[in-house]
């Protein structure tokens, strides 16, 4: 460690949707690394320790180093010449960069989607159907005396959701912390989150909807047959007790995760839980919140929503935004082979997408923006190495409760930020589209997609 040390107070960790903004970073400016991250959880510590300046070209075409401008030109050409270009990712970058991505999708009459579509997209769809009784995390900390975690494992995915916001932390009206709270955990198996729960409910895999619907009925005073136990694995007595406690609490909250969105039912599962939360407001104050996994996926929802009117899976082929999950979402545009070019920003779909989608990524030209080398960046035709948001860049990010937070930079990076790269691509794309279609063509000419011949 050198002598050239800097301390950054109240920095924001951008690993998960908790966006803890009480980080105290010790930065070695000579070695360009963060040597200590006070208040960070195990995930945050790994995030800060491992995002260093890597020895890699800033821009590559087919794995060979090129000038930044050459890579931007090639990326712009790929996007403009494609019939069904898609843009995906955006959960681990700033909202300023997200805006540029939406602008590019608009200009190229392409499709923009975010990691939301394979995370809480179903929740977003349910939100449109049944609405959300919502809150800020500060309210949970200060008021919630009943906290339910459904279909998630915060101990490994959001460790400080327990310690800073919802379980052990003391609040204004919760002076004794965990002692003043009843914690309920609903899952199909035992997880690292189990120890914090007063009540652990194990549900049969794929039966969350039935369980939630039974709870809704009980909340509304309907009777439920004891055979609910055979269907869900949970006894009627347990359900009746839970409903009684939920109705009698002062302020209840349900955090929920992929156990609901990624399983049979998807948006129906999320919708059932959100409706349950709303129902309980006839008796007490009850809120629900999807636990968002990435640092700024909530920002992606916000930016895409306010710019297009829809949260994800948005297509501009006809010159105006259209929303259709299942058609314009990336798992589909890739698996169905609709996409003939793709730009993946701050995400690694080649690791985490369905097998047929990964196979199609290998057939089409891919542009990748990532601070790290990943399977996606390795298969990319044009690859940019980027500065890491919240470590090398400032910018705006949104916490899981839609609270915007401004990032504090720790040290500079020689690599450009996502925002810089996307702004450059946007400018070139606009020039190319104008020369191809003229000033009237960019907005009015319908570009109808055709399927890539098999």
């Amino acid at each position: 460690m050198s002598e050239n040390i800097r301390t950054v107070k109240n920095a924001t960790c951008t690993f998960c949707g908790c966006l803890c903004d009480d980080m105290e970073l010790t930065v070695d400016l000579d070695e360009h690394r963060i040597t200590k991250a006070k208040n960070a959880c195990v995930l945050g510590r790994a995030w800060y320790a491992e995002h260093v300046i890597e020895d890699r070209p800033a821009a590559m075409i087919d794995g060979k180093e090129v000038d930044f401008d050459e890579a931007v030109e090639e990326a712009a050409q790929v996007l403009v010449n494609a019939k069904f270009p898609i843009i995906y990712g955006l959960s681990d970058t700033t909202s300023e960069a997200q805006r540029e991505a939406v602008a590019i999708a608009d200009y190229i009459h392409g499709t923009i989607d975010t990691t939301t579509s394979v995370c809480h997209g179903p929740t977003g769809m349910a939100f449109q159907g049944v609405g959300e009784s919502t809150m800020s995390l500060g309210e949970v900390k200060n008021r919630a005396d009943m906290v339910i975690f459904w279909g998630g494992n915060p101990a490994v995915s959001h460790p400080r959701l327990f310690t800073r916001y919802a379980v052990t932390t003391k609040g204004m009206f919760i002076p004794n912390g965990k002692k003043d709270r009843t914690i309920v955990l609903v899952d199909v198996r035992k997880t690292a989150s189990d120890p914090v729960a007063n009540i652990q409910i194990k549900v049969k895999p794929g039966k969350d909807f039935e369980l939630l619907w039974a709870l809704r009925a009980l909340v509304k005073g309907k009777s439920i047959d004891p055979s609910i136990e055979k269907i869900t694995g949970v006894s009627l007595a347990t359900l009746e007790d839970l409903v009684d406690r939920m109705k009698k609490c002062n302020y209840g909250v349900i955090f929920f995760g992929m156990g609901l969105t990624m399983t049979r039912g998807r948006h129906f599962n999320s919708g059932a839980l959100m409706a349950l939360g709303t129902d309980l407001n006839e008796f007490t104050h009850f809120v629900v919140k999807p636990a968002r996994g990435h640092g700024n996926v909530t920002g992606a929802d916000n930016v895409v929503s306010w710019q297009t009117g829809y949260p994800f899976g948005v297509n501009f082929n006809l010159g105006y935004p259209r929303f259709n999950p299942g058609e314009f979402t990336t798992a589909d545009t890739l698996s169905n082979r609709d996409a003939d070019a793709a730009m993946f920003i701050a995400s690694d779909p080649a690791s985490n997408f369905p097998k047929p989608a990964i196979e199609h990524m290998k057939r089409i030209p891919v542009i990748s923006l990532d601070p790290k080398q990943t399977i996606t960046s390795l298969l990319a035709h044009v690859a940019f190495t980027t500065a890491t948001y919240g470590i090398n860049t400032t910018g705006t990010v949104y916490r899981m409760d839609d609270v915007p937070i401004t990032l504090r930079k720790a040290y500079d990076s020689p690599f450009p930020s996502d925002e810089e790269i996307l702004t450059a691509i946007k400018k070139r794309v606009r020039e190319l589209m104008l020369s191809k279609y003229g000033t009237s063509g960019v907005r009015r000419e319908a570009k109808v997609a055709s399927l890539t011949p098999l």
């Binding site: 579509s117 199909v188 198996r189 948006h267 999950p325 989608a357 990943t374 399977i375």
Partner: protein
């Protein structure tokens, strides 16, 4: 001997920290190839801790390493794996019009791999 079970890909602490080190590095690749399986299921299938098994379905197949879990912690017929490139090979592209592929509860055939 093969049996059909339900696979749940999900997060672990090790997977979350290892992905920061780099997804192409050994730690992440190791963690995303470890399969949690109920010890009674293991016994019935003739499996020991650390044995290799093949998981397969209509979409693909992978070979992973067994980690035993107590029956009171992991139900019979339920498998858990830290999500990553191996589990993606078993994920089909069908999203039922939702945009979300079935990323948990995939039905898989499990059989011991003879080394």
């Amino acid at each position: 001997m093969t049996e059909t079970m339900i696979l749940i890909p999900g997060r672990t602490s090790e997977q979350g920290t290892a992905l920061n080190k780099g997804k192409l590095k050994a730690e992440y690749q190791h963690e995303t190839s470890m399969l949690d399986i109920n010890t009674e299921d293991m016994e019935r299938l003739g499996l020991q801790e650390g044995d290799r098994v093949r998981l397969s379905n209509e979409t693909g197949e992978i070979t992973v390493t067994c980690r035993g879990r107590k029956p009171e912690d992991l139900p019979h017929g339920v498998l858990f794996i830290p999500y990553g490139p191996p589990s993606s090979q078993l994920m089909a592209g069908e999203t039922a019009g939702s945009g979300m592929p079935l990323s948990k509860h995939m039905e898989v055939k499990i059989e011991k791999v003879d080394v």
